[in-house]
Symmetry: C2
């Protein structure tokens, strides 16, 4: 998608130098746009750990390229021990991100028991590129299927379609298109008039900083709101559709997503507004049935709540928001029960949020 | 209630100089505690408009003292026209606050058709003090009635009672005790173990800054959370009771309160958690029946969303949170329909949120 009018992915091989992987540095967005170079596996660990890159799909692809960089920079003996260590090291950068581990393991499986030579290095780079392509494919297909929902609303309403989204399930969290944003970009490119309500998404403000930024750069009309606002808008007919992403989805259709998603699902339900979740099937956990009981919820650094990062005109600074004496809790995600979800938009099509419908789209998973 | 161990009200006549009304400057709390002087009606307008003081009851009392200051500073001809103009001027400082208008009109009725002399000025000051006393009485009674609810939960649970509150319906919004916090302070003083989840309350962070501050100064255990978090806590049995305040209540029990209240009411409802609203009857608008249709919702400066104020270690500073290109919307309140409200805690007792029950407590209003 576009930044300052130029087409970007979130990660790519440096033009003219395949020993360097480049990513968009998301830490200072939307206030400063910078490119960050990954040359070593340590750079890759740093980029994931410090959230230079974030978003489950992008983290996975970045780690895959990290395995390529590990290979490229190997210099010595004991290659197998070395590469297994580097895989573990990369996996430890964000311990809860499930598809980070999947991506690294897929790369490791590919590399192990092969002879280290320029051919393997080249093929490993191709393999990482394959994971990247798969993510782009997912976003593209989710976008096409989700577009139908927006089109239908537009055909009925004949006026600009108002879509609410929470957090950043956008292309900055992926490679291109995004998940929740993919149908929005497809509809916008097709000329369907629409407007997006962007939840700020405290505590890390991914909505206010990243979703607003990427929609703005693509020219999609949007308005940033405090997380408290969605219910009021829905009560007053100002939201036609909610689309969010998913960090983990049960086989029964429960959705773990950024904290606060459940509250918007309740409000959508209370006002008869369709609440859709856009997700690649890689976020479906085929082994669990009860999201509320079985999905562990990550608690994060309380500083994300007690302080906030913003732009003072020349740099990013943190300011304090609460009294020194007060305790703080910071839960990263919540679980929206399937009963509140109108449908799941996947790369294979749209289904209702229940086991039967999900397995109809993914029959090979019915074990 | 206490600040740094010393007993305070939010507003008082300056010791030794009755031409000066003093208020706690709430703009720099919790980081800096300062007193703000009101000498003119323009100071009063400024204090209300710029939220030196905030909270419906305190705004009303402040405006009442403002009418006294208007009287005190009159110098010229056309007193009646002057005082009516000042009344309108004060009322325009915060359009949604219904008891601001009530307080000003009550003062105006008292002043009009009287002879302007030192006796009237003295009696007007007494009248304003009467409104202040009434608010303290309201908080005290609401606290006593609400205490019963907390006590009952404690008797059943035999463990610390977890209460969630949104925004600041605390003593800083009133004169003393507060509304939503009054039952909490009463229970705490009685030795009932409890813990309060404090919603940050974006965009102005009255929860993180004011409720957390006042609970901390009174020694009440509490934890600040992002507004997105309450639903998750309720799903996991971590909330026993929700108590919020009200800016305006319909005779049918619909409640207009700080934006985001509706979302918490939905989550409480979805998890069978009692959702109570603590309010003095002065916030009841006896003329309207449909909160969603009839209560106008104030939109406020978008900078409250696009920027945030915090403490950098030595002063309050504002930092930017969203891209320059993005639009922002800032709605101040939402309406929680009566069907989601377990009960109203008033100065006359607790009633269910419907016209019949409300009128049983306030039979004199049945016109």
């Amino acid at each position: 998608m576009k930044i300052q009018g130029k087409q970007y992915h979130t990660i790519w091989v440096k033009n003219g130098n395949s020993a360097v992987i480049q990513v968009i540095d998301q830490r200072k967005l939307p206030f400063k746009f910078e490119i960050f170079d990954l040359i070593t596996v340590e750079d890759t660990y740093f980029a994931i750990r410090e959230m230079v890159v974030r978003g489950a799909p992008l983290i996975g692809v970045t780690a895959a390229y990290g395995m390529y960089l590990a290979l490229l920079n190997f210099d010595g003996n004991g290659f197998e021990k070395y590469i297994i260590e580097k895989a573990d090291y990369l996996k430890s950068s964000r311990p809860t991100a499930v598809n980070l581990a999947f991506a690294v393991d897929e790369m490791l499986d590919f590399i192990l028991n092969k002879k280290l030579n320029t051919d393997l290095i080249e093929k490993t780079l191709e393999k990482a590129y394959g994971l990247k392509e798969k993510e782009i494919y997912f976003g593209n297909k989710i976008g096409e299927f989700g577009l139908n929902i927006i089109e239908q609303i537009y055909e009925q309403k004949k006026e600009s379609v108002n879509i609410l989204t929470h957090c950043n399930a956008g292309w900055l969290a992926c490679i291109d298109w995004g998940t929740a944003t993919a149908p929005i970009y497809k509809a916008h490119k097709k000329g369907i008039p629409l407007h997006v309500w962007v939840d700020e998404t405290r505590p890390r403000n991914q909505g206010a900083r990243l979703t607003a930024f990427e929609l703005g750069e693509e020219g999609v009309p949007h308005t940033v709101i405090a997380d408290n606002t969605g219910g009021h808008l829905m009560q007053h007919g100002k939201v036609d559709l909610v689309i969010v992403g998913s960090d983990r989805t049960t086989i029964t259709g429960d959705v773990a997503n950024k904290i606060g998603t459940y509250l918007k699902a309740l409000a959508a339900n209370d006002n008869n507004i369709p609440f859709y979740v856009a997700l690649p099937s890689t976020t479906i956990d085929w082994e669990i049935e009860n999201g509320l009981k079985e999905i562990p919820i990550e608690t994060r650094d309380t500083k994300e709540v007690s302080e906030i990062e913003g732009w003072n005109g020349s740099e990013m600074v943190s300011v304090k928001l609460i009294p020194e004496k007060s305790k703080v809790a910071n839960y990263g995600f919540d679980v929206t029960p399937a009963r509140l979800v109108a449908g799941l938009i996947t790369e294979r099509g749209i289904c209702t949020a229940d086991k039967k419908s999900i397995l109809e789209l993914f029959p090979e998973k019915n074990i």
